[in-house]
């Protein structure tokens, strides 16, 4: 919801309609298309998790895993969910996202109730060390070239992490900065799932901006609902082995609290395969 109580564009573009106990309909909006029109993987995850929230007993996603098997495209999608099991404090289920009768992506998630999470906290990490937002570098939105959703999201990068965009990557697989919606919509658990996959890949600062690096599997752990204001992110890649690499992420809120950690495995396409 936006500040005035009307659904925000993000709520509207990730909305699901429950048409049976475990069947939902939704629509992939072209806003979220990246390479070749395939919707962003975090956007697909947010939609799948809305369907799971309408299926499982606990209210908040704790860990969500997406498997990205086939390209999706803008347009209608059918979501079939299934309850897999529950305990006193968690419930687990899966969601299949189907277009034109073919399952494209697959999500498995465990939900909990963060309002009942009263366990111990010991955090041996800090938010990314960043200059103030006005000294960070905005990612330029280029009409007709950038994914449209980048026009809706304010991303500001650590000044030394933008070398990839000038073909001078600094050689370290890191990408840190600030992120929020441009229209003032405050972050929630669903937008955090999307933000966790919305930033240019950290590996671009190692190998350059090679183009699309498809996600094979992405897991995001959510830790709490974010406070209003800027989120700060840090994504790192250290381990590129024979074309496969991980990307680790952390997202922190304006009160210096961790709201999510993520890890995905992606494939660096060879020049031959891209040709």
């Amino acid at each position: 919801m936006s500040a005035n109580g009307t659904p925000s564009f993000f709520d509207l573009e990730t909305a699901v309609e429950k048409v049976a106990d475990t069947r939902f309909l939704a629509n992939f909006h072209e806003t979220w298309g990246i390479a070749g029109g395939t919707p962003n993987g975090g956007y697909l995850m947010a939609i799948a998790v809305r369907a799971l929230a309408g299926t499982l007993e606990h209210p908040h996603p704790l860990t969500v895993t997406g498997h990205y098997m086939k390209r999706s495209s803008a347009g209608p999608v059918e979501i079939l969910t299934e309850r897999l099991g529950r305990s006193l404090t968690t419930s687990t289920g899966l969601a299949r996202l189907i277009q034109e009768g073919v399952q494209r992506t697959h999500f498995t998630a465990t939900f909990t109730d963060f309002d009942l999470a009263t366990g111990k906290s010991v955090v041996h990490a800090t938010p990314p060390d960043l200059p103030p937002p006005e000294e960070c570098v905005e990612h330029p939105y280029v009409e007709g070239k950038s994914p449209k959703f980048q026009e809706l999201i304010d991303m500001r990068f650590h000044p030394t992490h933008m070398g990839w965009a000038r073909a001078t990557p600094h050689g370290v697989g890191e990408m840190a900065g600030y992120i929020r919606f441009k229209d003032g919509l405050e972050p929630d658990l669903y937008s955090v799932l999307m933000f966790a996959d919305a930033v240019p890949p950290a590996i671009f600062n190692v190998v350059g901006a090679t183009g699309w690096v498809p996600t094979i599997e992405l897991t995001t752990h959510l830790r709490r609902r974010p406070a209003p204001g800027w989120l700060r992110f840090r994504f790192t890649t250290r381990l590129l082995t024979r074309g496969f690499f991980e990307e680790d992420g952390e997202i922190w809120d304006s009160q210096d609290r961790l709201v999510a950690d993520s890890r995905q495995i992606q494939k660096l396409m060879s020049p031959k395969a891209r040709a």
Copy 2:
């Protein structure tokens, strides 16, 4: 297989029998029981992945995610698998592990063919910095107290990482050392999946040995088949938030090559819940 070509105890105790196209039977051996007899989560993953290897077209697990919903116990298990999708270089499927008619755990995996992985490698990490094995500390096996599988595995820990076992944790969530089978069986992809969950939790070096810390979700990325010899592991926990924490792992082989990276989310049980 052991060096003389006969099946090793690990091969035998993770074996699955295919009884239909997507139905397998197996047996959880009591050797692998931890707290309350629940089999080790990495052991369950190795069995699930054997069933998936008998289901999917590609030969090698690349990323495997387990959701641990209910306790399993020693005894027979039925495994139902399903093919979810495939591309030229990967195939994805799921496996349900069922005991007494109830699904206890759920696995989702993407397989590939490592023999065809010819992409670029850039590794900005090194194996854990360890003294030689003979200067590391063996984890003492205590009859009737330690899980039986610890009698079969040679684990040697960095000398400064064993404080938890003497009730003097050093305060940093790390656990690094060497690991191999005691009987000379060389590691393979399946044993690496098990090793990735076989070491005492790194969080014990922060909060002490609190007892069982159940895994909610565990994802392991495999990178290559390991070379013979010692494996080296490094597990770290930095982010304990209201009872939930991640554990990140890396496993390196005797040729200094990364063979796996893992991340799980676990729950630190409150003293009340353990009583």
